[in-house]
Point group: none
Chain length 589, copies 2
């Protein structure tokens, strides 16, 4: 249950069992003829000897024979008949008639991932698959087309960045964004292009069966934006032959001026991962809640200004094909509002690569796809901490996969981020990290007797308290939990639904239930744990003015508010002296 679906397939153990009586036909053969980047493909299967272990592996590029296998060192693997994992798979008996006739049509949702696609029928399950037959390839009209734009705030309040994926290298096309606002002339902004290769991966499966050519990532910086204004943009590539490839149009609304008094709505969740709308990979419901969360956010999008996905983004775990599919899943959101990410264990952790946790959760990716495919305004995108402003909010996003303790570079950054916000104009100060550095009654934290990541709050609570952090959000634990306003494990305010008056302590919220399989709570419930929900959900913050903030936790299944409270705050309430947070004063006159 706890692993990447594609990791179940033992790619190196596949063997040939081609059977001419097996027929596989995929259609339509040309996808995206109207410029779509996603399309349904029908795979007509006729297999005279159907078994319950038969399954279809979707391969892209279509040609997956051993000819293009990367020379594995040491040759310990059997000469692999195939050496690349499929990009998705589905058991044939997911169709009711398969076992009866062996003649069915399976439907696959295929996205443009810069290469053609073929469908291979295997028998004998996923541990020692026998290849029976391969379909005709299908391909997108333009496999290199610019796709899946995702917005992110830049390093200034009046700067929006747009990052997208294409198959065009910089020697064959010049990438750019054409953008304009009603009443302003259209402009072109250049894009910087990054990519990565197999050598950028730190281990397997990312360097081995999980590797897939990632294409090119282009980022444009749209500057000098007017506050709160709607802009139209489209992705462009000027080809060397003089023609231009265009994407369709997208729109976004620029950020408010920091401190501006307007309605500002923020979505925060972690650990969403991805789902398959065609039901494939269903045998490993790794992120059962993912599609619900995505669809709830899409439904509420006109009332949402910015989204924070705080770590554990795709759960690709080294199977790189999943990243394109994730960017496709979140595209309706990310192309419209800034999609701000944080680094999680599944993005970064790998032994001996400088990650604070030496686990293998990233499947060998060691942060590279996450840090390259998404923009975020960090000074050094390999050290995943950054600050960003949105109207009356200041967000300090930490990186729980690198050391945060006192004396570290990250600790200095966190203090700087908290210390440099003007709370009369930006009253709402939010701290974010993937792992729970604050408080959680998740069962494994209970068993460690820490109810947090060890050394989490010990290092940071001084800062949260000194700078009066309103709310701290964490993922990593797949459930919902909210504490009282707390300092040094003591509730400093016993209200539950409404907080006002002098700031006393930070409210800590676990919101890692956006999709990945749920984590049980510890049976013991410390007094500071006010609300717990063993379900999929996400949080919405709404600041309507400088003195009131609404917090709502919504269930992903229904979108209903399951828990909420509000904070009303005067400027003096955050200036006033409180426990371990008093500015020096002099008795001089």
């Amino acid at each position: 249950r706890g692993d990447q679906a594609l990791a179940q397939i033992n790619v190196y153990e596949t063997s040939l069992a081609l059977d001419s009586s097996v027929k596989l036909h995929a259609s339509p053969q040309v996808l995206g003829s109207q410029g779509e980047d996603t399309e349904w493909v029908n795979l007509a299967i006729s297999n005279p000897k159907p078994t319950s272990d038969d399954w279809i592996g979707v391969f892209s590029p279509a040609k997956f024979d051993s000819g293009n296998c990367w020379p594995t060192s040491g040759g310990k693997e059997k000469t692999p008949y195939i050496c690349s994992s499929p990009i998705k798979y589905m058991y044939c008996n997911s169709h009711p008639d398969y076992m009866k006739s062996g003649n069915v049509t399976l439907k696959f949702q295929i996205i443009n991932q810069r290469a053609d696609v073929s469908f291979a029928l295997f028998s004998n399950g996923v541990q020692e698959p026998h290849l029976l037959g391969v379909s005709n390839p299908v391909a997108f009209f333009n496999p290199k087309a610019p796709v899946y734009p995702r917005l992110a705030l830049g390093k200034n309040w009046d700067e929006m960045t747009v990052t997208w994926t294409s198959g065009y290298n910089i020697d064959e096309a010049v990438p750019f964004i054409e953008w304009s606002a009603k009443g302003l002339p259209a402009r072109r902004s250049p894009a910087g292009t990054l990519t990565f290769n197999r050598n950028s991966m730190c281990g397997n499966p990312a360097r081995g069966v999980g590797w897939r050519d990632p294409g090119f990532f282009h980022t444009s910086f749209l500057k000098e934006l007017w506050p709160n204004r709607e802009y139209i943009y489209r992705l462009g590539h000027d080809l060397v032959n003089g023609s231009t490839i265009w994407s369709k149009n997208y729109t976004f609304v620029s950020s408010p001026y920091p401190g501006q008094d307007s309605k500002q709505r923020v979505i925060i969740f972690g650990d969403m991962g991805k789902g398959e709308r065609d039901g494939s990979n269903e045998y490993n419901d790794y992120q059962p809640g993912s599609l619900n969360t995505t669809d709830q956010v899409i439904k509420d999008l006109k009332d949402i200004d910015i989204v924070f996905h705080i770590g554990d983004l795709t759960y690709s775990n080294g199977y790189l094909s999943q990243w394109d599919q994730f960017t496709a899943q979140v595209q309706p959101i990310a192309s419209t509002v800034p999609y701000m990410i944080a680094s999680g264990n599944h993005e970064r952790d790998w032994p001996d690569t400088g990650s604070f946790y030496a686990g293998t959760d990233s499947g060998g990716e060691c942060g590279v796809p996450a840090e390259t495919m998404f923009y975020f305004p960090a000074e050094n995108r390999a050290k995943f901490w950054y600050k960003t402003d949105y109207g009356m909010f200041r967000f300090c996003v930490a990186d729980s996969e690198h050391d945060w303790r006192e004396g570290t570079e990250q600790y200095k950054f966190i203090e700087n981020c908290l210390a440099t916000v003007d709370r009369k104009t930006q009253p709402w100060l939010i701290f974010i990290a993937h792992r729970v550095l604050g408080y959680s009654t998740n069962d494994w934290y209970g068993k460690e007797g820490t109810f947090e990541e060890p050394m989490g709050r010990e290092s940071l609570q001084k800062l949260w308290q000194k700078y009066k952090v309103d709310l701290a959000f964490y993922g990593h634990v797949h459930n919902y939990e909210r504490t009282c306003p707390i300092y040094e494990s003591q509730c400093v305010n016993n209200d539950k639904d409404h907080y006002s008056g002098t700031f006393k302590g930070t409210i800590h919220v676990v919101v890692g239930g956006a999709g990945s399989h749920l984590s049980p709570f510890s049976s013991l419930v410390p007094k500071w744990s006010l609300v717990r929900d063993y379900d999929f959900g996400f949080v919405k913050l709404t600041a309507s003015d400088h003195s009131s903030l609404l917090f709502e936790y919504k269930k992903s299944s229904t979108g209903q508010v399951y828990d909420s409270f509000n904070i009303s705050r005067d400027y003096r309430d955050v200036l006033a002296c409180t426990h371990d947070s008093c500015e020096p004063t002099t008795s001089a006159g």
Copy 2:
């Protein structure tokens, strides 16, 4: 041998010996009529009593009589007949027929230095010159013309700065750059104007005989450039009378996006100084290799993207006329690719001016001409340390003329520069300083028993190792030397031509042989000194992608590669833990 040619001339000891039988005629009288900024002038000499001590001093401004001598304090100098040094000089017997007939024509290459020029014949050598006669003045059509543009990277990757010199003050003309790229509309960018005066100099000869009006330096900041794109630019001055003075057109290619995968070629050398293509000042071959190095770089320019001249730029040593001549010499390079400089002893050192070394190497300049005539992206251009990015490279340029030891402002900067580079997109981390803060077997370092500048590596090797600096480059020592990958004076890798696998230690390179008279090696050769070359040369780095870097050392005389190696590197190789460079890890899950 070791001093500025013009310093040989004892200006204050000159005395009148005007001789009407001496005829001197310079032609053409109007230079630069087609907009040239450099032209050959023929000086017809007829001197009935030629002697081997006769020499021609070229003066600019042409009128150099005592009328415009600056009132010398204390009057200890004899009332000087002349009080400004010539801008160049040549012994008459450099022409074979001079001693026979006294009737020869000498050829001088004259550049536009904002003033007219006259040629004076002196006898009795340079210690107590006797002035025999002065030629007619010659002058450029427009002495104030904008000349010698030099590019430098700005503080953002998409910003190129252009700095040039002119005679136009800001009250008589508005300086700007007109620039455009194919397919983009032409734009004008304003220029900031700086200058300095005699009072800015810290001592003689810069305040005395070496002083010359420097004119005005204009810097434009060309922003929001598209990556790797060719731009055309020209220098402009809008005069108050409504007309505009234009320079000719120049072109440059903008920087790649940081981390971009394209071919990137970097030239690094130190101590080039300047030469005289007309053979003048030949009696003090101070930088014999200078013109060779300049010409080799010009010859290879289409395969070069950026040049670093790491200190000891002109060896003007207080004779300010040399700075214009240096900018003219490097202009074919600097107007086309960014010319990034560092501070050396000859730019900065002067007693009691805050320089770490209290020598008089700058001739009283105390850094002012270097810091004003060239742009470099330092926060404070009097503290000559800065960081800059070029594609897959991050350069941390230090200032060996100010304290770099632990606890200093510069040390904090160096750590920040090394710590904030993302090595998956910018794998190649280069440290640069003028003096050898690392390793050199130069003879005087050998005699000091340090094989470095004292206190150099003791303070900095911790940082080089912690942040895994690939290569460190130094000038100051006029030869070439390359070490093994080294840490704490121990070779940590015994390969010589190819380095791969986990980073173990930094390779240190002395590359101060770009022109100034060569420095001998110590007879003792420590085991870490792999290659030494007692000749003039420079280094070229070529990064073709993220995992391979080619290092070549070329001889200036022939352009041939004399020493080379390459580094092949995966991302995990720079992330992996190595001696004194392991990120903290937790045993928590």
